[in-house]
């Protein structure tokens, strides 16, 4: 891990990149990094995230700025702007059941090719998927997801990149920390090495490439 100025961090991300963004309805989303993405106008993005938050919040800022080509998310119900652009055909939205999305990202980070889930069998979610029977029960084969970048928010980072998240701001962050080529983190607090107890580290430092330097 090394610390990096915000602007420099976002300059590494090319237009057209695939990006995982932590957060659930904006909670646990690295708002500062998102703002800088908008400021630098990186476009044509593929965003993998739980949802698109609400209009003008978190990932909703990317929607409003027209920077996204495609979403892979579980829910857009609380952002009418995303819904409108999806129905317009301005953006592509792949809707994935939330538990399946979590497992696909986890699989991508853990070197698994995919998982078998019962979720979605007999629904639109099964379209285009292989069905596999195990012990007489039918499962969908859901394949691993990875991205070029993961943009994460942590409550505490130390200077080797060990991360700890707070309460419900954890959500997809630790999964995405494993599933992207380059992992960039904004942390509310950066602390000296050794002060986070080993048992309280939720993302081990070697997974993190960059932590955005304090203001």
């Amino acid at each position: 891990m090394r610390t990096i100025p915000l602007q420099e961090a976002v300059e590494m991300i090319p237009s057209g990149a695939s990006i995982m963004v932590g957060g659930f309805m904006g909670i646990g989303t690295p708002e500062l990094i998102v703002d800088e993405l908008v400021r630098q106008g990186k476009g044509d993005l593929t965003i993998i995230a739980n949802d698109t938050a609400s209009p003008g919040v978190g990932i909703g800022k990317l929607v409003r700025a027209g920077l996204v080509r495609r979403f892979i998310v579980s829910h857009i119900g609380l952002n009418p702007e995303t819904q409108k652009m999806m129905m317009d055909g301005t953006i592509i939205v792949d809707l994935v059941p939330q538990g399946t999305l979590a497992e696909r990202i986890r699989a991508g980070g853990c070197g698994l090719g995919g998982v078998l889930t019962p979720t979605g069998v007999g629904t639109l979610a099964e379209v285009g998927k292989s069905k596999i029977e195990v012990d007489g029960k039918t499962f969908l084969l859901e394949t691993a997801l990875r991205a070029d970048f993961a943009l994460l928010h942590a409550f505490i980072s130390d200077y080797v990149g060990n991360l700890s998240y707070a309460l419900t701001a954890r959500n997809f962050n630790p999964l995405m920390a494993m599933a992207a080529t380059t992992v960039i983190v904004h942390a509310d607090n950066i602390v000296p090495v050794g002060v986070i107890a080993p048992d309280h580290v939720m993302t081990p430092g070697p997974l993190v490439d960059y932590v955005v330097a304090k203001g």
């Binding site: 579980s74 829910h75 019962p118 979720t119 419900t168």
Partner: protein, 218 residues
Amino acid sequence: MDPQTIIAKRIAEELKDGMLVNLGIGIPTQVANFVPAGMRVYFQSENGLIGTGPVPEAGMAAPFLTDAGGRPVTALPGASTFDSAMSFGLIRGGHVDVTVLGGLEVDQCGRLANWMIPGKMIPGMGGAMDLVTGAKRVIVAMQHTAKNRPKIVRECSLPLTSERSIDLLVTELAVIAFPDRRATLVELSPGVSLAQVLAGTQAELVIPDYLQAASCNA
């Protein structure tokens, strides 16, 4: 009582001490208000929390402690937090005793549709497909009709949430169960007649004798 309160109160009666329960947004959220004092029910928020407590007092919210709709909540003593893979491991793995969800339609074999209206509204399934697939018991909270159109139908016109048959459907008029995947009326709400329920229901309902009789007396 308004329809939503009738539904929420009735569903609260289904909860038992020690249960792990997931409440969807809308009517289901109100179920928490009717849990009897002294009964310990663990509410899971699928964004990564067990032990969800009520809305915080003014000025005492934390921006990183919310429910699945992003609204500030509190955490009760004994609460725990976890990531989304764990949250859905709990859900898909059958560790959630009861899930209560809203519905757009339920068909007569108990299949729920609640995540999109093609061409009109596509919120996405969020956690609903996992919840209906994985929870031990699925209860749907839904008004009986929408603008006088039945929502309990022979076959869903909307995309299904799961092949699985739900366990219980609670409306402001009635309680319907689905033994052997057949919609079966089990209760009429106080003051509601069988005729009223039948008039608002498109699905074929199995009517037990005791409700036929009740209807004659009404």
